[in-house]
Amino acid sequence: MLNKNEQKLREVREKTAEILEDLMISQKLALQAIEACDSKSFEQVKVPLKTINKKVDDVDNLILSIFALYSPEARDLREMVAFLKMTSSLQRIAMNEKNYMKNMEICNPESGEDMRRVIKESLSINRCTIKALEYTVEMIHETEDKDKLKDLASKIDVENSKTDDIYSLIEKDTLQRMHKDHLINEEMLNLLKYIRKNSKIIDRLEDISSRLIFARIGGKL
């Protein structure tokens, strides 16, 4: 009810959006770096991720103080609980991105043509993830229009399904080739693993969007 309360709620939203934007920058840098297959710029990608843990702690503590001081109810309560759960998802996304970059170091100008082809195809997943991140940030800022929120949520859903499809295609194609060549390429299998783990990011984004729907529209957590 007081201005202080409103201010703090807004701060939570903004700080969370900031974390998502850091993740987005990191993803975009990763996309560029992998397209160029230039392992030197891989280090750059990790930079935005370094401060994520501290930022997440800040948001957690902010939410905690809001609970202690303002006893939020109804919509404010749902929002704060939703954001509290979101921060752990965000931390995991950051972890996923770090690991992905570490693993993608196998992509360099010396790697085989097949590898590079598969990697290029898998980049569509990254592009979907970036789109989903954009939608998620928009959702955080959209506090009023319920239809728009549902719309954004379904868009994230769509991107998620796309990544599933892309991955299935890549997997099928790769396994077929291996079968044809009677060759089990360890490296290639690992690559598939890394790609699959990367698409977990967008799964988590879908979690985040459903929590935002709970916060803004209602229902169960």
């Binding site: 007081l2 202080k4 309360n5 103080s65 202690a68 001081l69």
Partner: protein
């Protein structure tokens, strides 16, 4: 010691009501920070109102009370004055012009709205009509009640609603430009909407005055205040920043009270 962030300082303060054997307040040590809101919470009978009323010596209306210790008021140059040593009526009057009080029950005087707010000014000896008018207008604006009263300044204050009357009492106190404002459960007799309006008002006021508020409503203390003092049976159990008291209190007694384990 540089004390320019403290406006009042309670040191080893004991207080015993007339005709009672045991003291109602025991060795209280409490600083009041300048331009901040300090809340005093605790179950009924813990002494929080008694302590508040000692801070403008209003206990002296009723003879026979005894006290020990110091309550110091710091002036703008850093000069310190123990208000417990005041004896002359003039000194009391000056003290109460610096340390104002708002009560639980709204207490409009039986006169017009204008006269109510001007009363303290007239008591202080201000005679210039223009000055009085200006200060009344400013006080009513600061108390967020100017719009509702500007067209009926000459009507009786008793015609206002409860929430408006309480804001009028705040305007009356603020007109004197006090350094400290003491609030004794100011919203417990009001409905939630008036309560919200007055809480907003108090939050605004801390720019110009230092606020001490006694409340039995813990959420009010946690929403409004910067510092909180928890009292129990005449003792000050814990004093800290509000966020610490409500998130991480040091004393078990404080924690039990805040979590509602006793009343």
């Amino acid at each position: 010691m540089a004390k320019n962030n403290i406006i009042m300082d309670i040191k080893d303060f004991d207080f015993t009501y007339a005709g009672v054997d045991d003291p109602s307040l025991k060795k209280i040590n409490l600083p009041i920070e300048k331009n901040k809101i300090t809340a005093m919470i605790g179950p009924s009978g813990c002494g929080k109102s008694t302590l508040l009323r000692a801070m403008n010596r209003i206990h002296d209306l009723y003879p026979g009370n005894t006290y020990e210790g110091e309550i110091n008021l710091y002036g703008s140059e850093g000069e310190k004055q123990n208000i417990l040593e005041l004896k002359k009526e003039n000194d009391f009057i000056k003290l109460r012009q610096k340390v104002g009080m708002i009560f639980q029950k709204p207490t409009p005087f039986p006169m017009s709205i204008f006269d109510n707010v001007a009363y303290g000014l007239k008591l202080a000896g201000i005679k210039d009509k223009v000055e009085i008018e200006e200060r009344v207008k400013k006080a009513l604006k600061d108390a967020a009640i100017w719009k509702e009263t500007k067209d009926r300044l000459n009507k009786s204050a008793l015609g206002l609603s409860g929430g408006q009357q309480q804001r009028l009492c705040i305007a009356r106190a603020v007109a004197l430009k006090p350094e400290v404002l003491l609030f004794d459960e100011p919203t417990s007799a009001l409905d939630p909407i008036s309560t919200g309006a007055i809480e907003e008002l108090i939050a605004e006021l801390k720019k110009d005055v230092s606020v001490v508020i006694v409340t039995h409503n813990m959420q009010q203390a946690s929403r409004l205040s910067d510092y909180t003092a928890f009292m129990y049976l005449g003792d000050l159990i814990e004093y800290d920043k509000t966020e610490n008291i409500f998130l991480n209190p040091s004393e078990k007694l404080t924690e039990d009270y805040i979590t509602g384990r006793f009343g």
